[in-house]
Symmetry: D2
Subunit: 346 residues, 4 copies
Amino acid sequence: MQIGMIGLGRMGASMVTRLLGGGHDCVVHDQSPEGVARLVALGGTGSTSLQQFVELLTPPRAVWLMVPAAAVDTLLEQLTPLLQPGDIIIDGGNSHYHDDLRRAAALAALNIAHVDVGTSGGVAGLDRGYCLMIGGGKEPVQHLAPVFATLAPGAGTAAATPGRDACHSSADQGWLHCGPHGAGHFVKMVHNGIEYGVMAAYAEGLNILRHANVGSRDHTVDAETTPLRCPTHYQYEMDLPEIAEVWRRGSVIGSWLLDLTAAALAADPTLGGYEGRISDSGEGRWTVQAAVDEAVPAPVLSAALYARFGSRGDADFANRVQSAMRHEFGGHVEKPLQGPAGGDLK
Amino acid sequence: MQIGMIGLGRMGASMVTRLLGGGHDCVVHDQSPEGVARLVALGGTGSTSLQQFVELLTPPRAVWLMVPAAAVDTLLEQLTPLLQPGDIIIDGGNSHYHDDLRRAAALAALNIAHVDVGTSGGVAGLDRGYCLMIGGGKEPVQHLAPVFATLAPGAGTAAATPGRDACHSSADQGWLHCGPHGAGHFVKMVHNGIEYGVMAAYAEGLNILRHANVGSRDHTVDAETTPLRCPTHYQYEMDLPEIAEVWRRGSVIGSWLLDLTAAALAADPTLGGYEGRISDSGEGRWTVQAAVDEAVPAPVLSAALYARFGSRGDADFANRVQSAMRHEFGGHVEKPLQGPAGGDLK
Amino acid sequence: MQIGMIGLGRMGASMVTRLLGGGHDCVVHDQSPEGVARLVALGGTGSTSLQQFVELLTPPRAVWLMVPAAAVDTLLEQLTPLLQPGDIIIDGGNSHYHDDLRRAAALAALNIAHVDVGTSGGVAGLDRGYCLMIGGGKEPVQHLAPVFATLAPGAGTAAATPGRDACHSSADQGWLHCGPHGAGHFVKMVHNGIEYGVMAAYAEGLNILRHANVGSRDHTVDAETTPLRCPTHYQYEMDLPEIAEVWRRGSVIGSWLLDLTAAALAADPTLGGYEGRISDSGEGRWTVQAAVDEAVPAPVLSAALYARFGSRGDADFANRVQSAMRHEFGGHVEKPLQGPAGGDLK
Amino acid sequence: MQIGMIGLGRMGASMVTRLLGGGHDCVVHDQSPEGVARLVALGGTGSTSLQQFVELLTPPRAVWLMVPAAAVDTLLEQLTPLLQPGDIIIDGGNSHYHDDLRRAAALAALNIAHVDVGTSGGVAGLDRGYCLMIGGGKEPVQHLAPVFATLAPGAGTAAATPGRDACHSSADQGWLHCGPHGAGHFVKMVHNGIEYGVMAAYAEGLNILRHANVGSRDHTVDAETTPLRCPTHYQYEMDLPEIAEVWRRGSVIGSWLLDLTAAALAADPTLGGYEGRISDSGEGRWTVQAAVDEAVPAPVLSAALYARFGSRGDADFANRVQSAMRHEFGGHVEKPLQGPAGGDLK
């Protein structure tokens, strides 16, 4: 079927490529003419303005937005006046589901449907397919089913779940209508919250393995340093790339994130190309705030989020407060930093 | 090759079955004659006493113990006097690596080798193979390679890691010699610590999804209950089995644990057969204690462990202390328990 | 000076009592005529309707609201039309500072001033005085200074802070103009977030002391129970009331919350009158959500909040998910609950 | 009474000074002759060798050790042979209670008593007195009561706890015989664990207040930065010294640690003299490990401990692992560090 895509960055361009491969007719638009040209070369129909983009689409139009969450409102202001009743706007980016609720209500007044699609898969999605978590009305979602089916990985990419009624939904093909407006981004939000927790679990474990040799290192002997009680217990030089590799087969913790970790460690066991400032793109924050609203505990997801904040230096003042207290009550002075990266091993 | 197995519980019996299928000669022993009989029926050689078990093995003997960690020392007291220099004892259970260090030293004095093998895979290991994390001397580990190769899943069970030098080790077949005595159980300990964190990440996320309808429920209005600020934001009835299913294909958080979760939810979306008291078998505790010894942060792994403790009621006194404080400073009285399972949804 | 008070619950009634003792003229109102009568007996001027309450106040009126946060908007709808330009509304309850911003803007359009006052002190405030954290415009705050000065504890109730410039502000008397609208409730919000963390720190520590005898108790020996490695290390029967008492003098952790804890433990060392379901009144939640918005780590404050949620059963489904996973991969079955209060000591 | 003190550092010298002021006869020893001389000038009896130190004491000797935990065993090796049956060794430092149990057993074989004393109070203890948590046999503790009474603050330094039976113990004077060997250091260990939690609670709260102006700062707009949804909610410039000051009177969170925080902030509101690398002296670690052994949740105390580890760079590798994963699945590249102290305000 025909679909329009605005936003041809890493994600949008790959999705159009997959859609073209699936036989769909794609009209594309982007701020960058080069981005448009690359997809025209693959069979897409390019446009040089939003106006032209809209004109190239046959009503009822299906317009998929794949732009940063912060850019959606501005884009909608320009796009919406060009559309007609019956058209569908799909937000496939990482919008907050509160914004979906607001935008869907505004568009409904114009008889334009809003569909929110949480899209997971990353740069590998071109080949693996994308996991699609969808919110909105029943009709537009059904109308878009052929597009979702092409973008999604398909049933064969994982073994059938024992005991599951296969007719229940399209979830076993990798796309799911999760509920009304916002439900798709809500599920994607929690998906990313879980992702942070899982990533941090591997990271903490590997860090513990990396420091399993602390007993073999020299330790400062002073009142500000806690002596290691049993150095003989920490004499292991662990081969992290091989440990990540062995866990990939047969263990309880096998996963795609572990596969990626093994690849990164195989390329550089020290991961020396990274400084360790972990960005976050918002969903982990919103997940924690939703947990707090709902009054359900989320200690693991929160700890993972805070580790990211901390990695960027945002605990610095809190740390200074504590050093100051220690100085006040115990006369303790801070130890100088040892080496460029603090306490970590070189 | 010939291998002796003591302990024919869930894990031990399955491992012998897999070894027999791989053409190995297995001498087996267990407290339960029925357990022995079941494996004799599959081709194993049974024994009725430790003495007989040892006599049925040809020196240098390879004796694999698959018994609870708490039973290992007692078993070794009985077994060791029956063995000879050159024999090998393999501890495939969940022993603390501190015990490996102690036992290996005691056995080394008798010229008996100790090999510690962290074994992951659970009840599915019979078919999927077991992930083996191995500690000990180079020679006994090499001697046992055929056994490890049969128990492990094999290279074909996961895609090759891009950029990895395939000759580096046997990790890509699912077994790895991790280092000297204790290294196998150390790596398995951290593996389980990670497992706790990953499990808790999924569990917290699913709990947030399950409570995404809190805005549609009646709420008590009193000074002890925090009102939900925006009930309209929490009106979703999420279909958890289908959400777990859709995440299995294409998403960033696909994993074997997610596959199992999807299966459990498909069987019963409310998981009503569980009370929610999560046991722990020790490795998660030791992981946290190792992190603390090494002075590396493990907030996610600790939070996951504490959630288990808390699920068993071990925070009760701490909670009472806080209710008592609130009563002291604010005259607050506790709210009565609402329904049999506290604040959870029915 | 003259002040009107609406809401004569635990806090409001005590505050009027303190104001009357300080020579102020208090006009009072409450839904309950008994509440009004009690304060009339102490010298207050009663009213039977909002209309009469407002008429008894001389413009520019100062109307202090001491009602539940959830009741403020409804009250303002009734009260505001009765007021005149130049009047001042003080919200002394636990409103969210977002609501302060909204209400202050609406009232400003009517030339009515809004002052938000975070009030700490609890039932003891009548004697100890109240700590007041104030947001709003400079003029109304200055106008109300005599009221704040009476409600606050006064400078003599704590030793002077070394090095502090005494002329800096009224903070050393126990009240502070923190900033523009919402600043008072923002500071109070964080105050309560800290309070949760401090309370949980004591509670966790006392819980660890209470379980310092685990080595002397019988332990189940099965595969689902982790054995205690060194029972001899946990043979202490700690006298918690006396330990709380000894910490009150000279230790680093002396505090008013510790004083209250010692009193509660002196009354009943087992705190058997509490079930351990800890309520929360919202500020702890908003503190965590503010930390997340600001991208600063708040692991301690979050852990304290989640402990409260968990104490009310809100982790139940997450716990069941994990028990289900363990059953799926390891065939583990949950252990039955032992006794009425789970794992806690009797 | 006569008491010998070995170790005249910050703590030991102050304690001798307080004992001399209380009329006790103090024989002192230290590696540093200057340290000895300073106390001789105040009335102490100096010694130039352990041999002389022991000879100056009248049997049964009471020898108080105030040395780093790591130095105790070496000192005992030299000291013990010089002592006689009936003598008492008091370890007033921060030894692990496991070491108390071991040392007490070894000394008991020589009929020398071991008393462990957890000592809290810091540099202020000279004036405020020390909170003493004591473990050991009944007789030596009773024998030392006059010394404990002088070192402790005394009953008058805090209000009586309502409802407490004043005859119960000496806890209301600031010293307590907590139980058998190790009980004193166990209670002190937990005391310090609580201290970490309380300190972190204040630090996190103050950090949230400090960042309450994030809405007024420029924010990078890119895919790696989460936009702040409501900048208008974060426009506060909080005066931290005054806020800490106002909380000191009447609030629920008043404490000695808050008094110290207010003093530190009064001296420098930015705490610019600290880098924020928070040391830990072991007890917080042991508290967490004890909680894990006992299977009681300690999320707040653990979070506080991990914040210290993280402040010293010990999460660096874990952070790099997560940045590497993000690069693998999403092509994300790390953002460069902005300014010398990362994300913190200047």
